[in-house]
Amino acid sequence: MSKHNKQEMVVRHKLFDRICHWFIVAVGLVTFLTGFSFFYPSFQWLGAIAGTPQLAKFIHPIAGLMMCLPLMLMLVRYYHHNKWEKHDLAWMLAIKDVMFENEEKIPPIGHYNPGQKVLFRAFVLTSITLTVTGFIMWQPYFAPYFSATVVGWAIVLHAISALIMLMFVMVHFWMATWVEGSITGMLYGKVSKAWCRKHHPLMLDEHSDVEKH
């Protein structure tokens, strides 16, 4: 008989990254709700999480920075898992099978699949544009240093970037809740070997540094 009598678990997210991730979720929620209160004036109540509309305006840029800076740090820490690889194209072409869970037709993939790598790039781009345009439009501290035209375009870009980021966050949430085991992975750090074999088969081969527990 086998010596294994329980699921073998593998560390997928280190403690620091997990804390980072859930911190970003918390401040991101405040940032997006307050941001929505300015984007959709009729739904100003969405910003009520901050207290008053004036407080929402005061808190939004600070919460936004508290979201973007750790996000950038996390993106730097996760970059090595997100480089494009040869086998990514085959997976991308089989996206239909991935979405409809035709398991036997899904090409094997490593630590992150190409969909997650696209998400990674979207977060890199939007976190940078949101931070830069956010500073340019930040009243009354930084906006007075820029011309009205520059501030005006920063506002549009900020809105577009926020929409793009939110759409990717929605996809991120959708995938995380669909692929069960992902959320416990991000909460407690570990996923089972069976989970890896199903969703990221090459992760076990490629990363010999994966710690066993």
Binding site: M99, A148, V151, I160, M170, W174, S192
Partner: protein
């Protein structure tokens, strides 16, 4: 000012417009500034700060009579001393600089907060400081660079056309104090009539380019200006063809609806997908599980 006569309201859906009953019934008002009659006495500027209890901090001399240098949260009307060199001679061109009260206000279109910027039935554009959150969208949208954000309370301020005086049948304080008759106030119809008369007079007196500054790009303005040369409003520090900036139109008329559709579509696809495809569950390894390779190895060993 009465809240019953609000005809345009920032951050309000077109599906639920503010009360429209008085539109057309209430006469549009206008302030007429005749630059050819202005002598730069600054009575309007002082009257504005008196009536509105504004005191801009005393600055330093910058080589011009224009003081302060620009409009500010504490200066809603500014006499601009534009220095023009013409045939080797220096000349002042005065501009009574204050809110233009556009018929189609860019500030109102850009505002992030429901009802913080409103337009009254008589055409005046007013800020509700109590609702203002200080996002500054109005300041960057205004083609005339009028609204200013206060560093003290982070709210936007500008000329109200003395809406409090108008409500009780008085004219704006700047008009009341004008020493030369360069500022006049009345119904828009009357002001347009007077302006036309004055422009014709100026043309007869040797100013062929004299004309009325009432830019169409913002739907016309509640402050009309008679200029001695309307082909060069820049010499009065007024924009030649003011418009609602493209960035504001793009953002409010395109990014918002398309973005909303995008968000809802993403949510809809996600929900449909989860319902149709169902859960994506891993069959966890049962006790005693061995990876296939190891099983094969063990079988081979057993055969030996």
């Amino acid at each position: 000012m009465a809240t019953q006569d609000i005809i345009q309201r920032s951050g309000t859906s077109q599906a639920t417009p503010p009360a429209q009953a008085r539109v057309g019934g209430v006469k549009q008002i206008a302030k007429l500034f005749d630059a050819t009659k202005c002598n730069g006495c600054k009575a309007c500027q002082v009257a504005c700060s008196e009536w509105n209890d504004l005191r801009e901090e005393v600055g330093s001399f910058q080589g011009t009579y224009q003081n302060p240098a620009s409009l500010s949260p504490e200066c809603w009307t500014l006499m601009k001393y534009n220095e023009i060199e013409d045939q080797g001679k220096l000349r002042w061109q005065f501009t009574h600089s204050a809110c233009m009260h556009c018929a189609d206000p860019a500030c109102l279109k850009a505002c992030s907060t429901s009802g913080a910027i409103i337009q009254h039935a008589n055409g005046t554009v007013d800020f509700d400081s109590d609702k203002c959150i200080g996002c500054g969208y109005c300041a960057s949208a205004c083609p005339f660079d009028i609204p200013k954000i206060s560093a003290v309370d982070n709210k936007a301020y500008k000329c109200t056309m003395c809406s409090d005086r108008l409500a009780v049948g008085l004219e704006p304080s700047c008009v009341k104090s004008c020493t030369t008759g360069a500022l006049r106030f009345g119904t828009r119809e009357d002001m347009l009539f007077s302006a036309e008369k004055r422009v014709n007079e100026l043309k007869e007196r040797g100013f062929p380019k004299a004309g009325l500054y009432n830019p169409e790009g913002v739907g016309g303005t509640g402050m009309l200006m008679v200029l001695h040369d309307v082909t060069q409003p820049e010499t009065y520090e007024m924009p030649k063809d003011p418009q609602i900036p493209l960035s504001v139109t793009l953002w409010q008329d395109w990014v918002k609806p398309l973005g909303t559709v995008g968000l809802l579509a993403t949510a809809a696809v996600a929900c449909l997908h989860k319902i149709t495809v169902g859960r994506n569950i891993v069959e966890e390894d049962q006790p005693g599980y061995q990876p296939p390779e190891e099983e094969v190895k063990q079988e081979e060993e057993a055969k030996k």
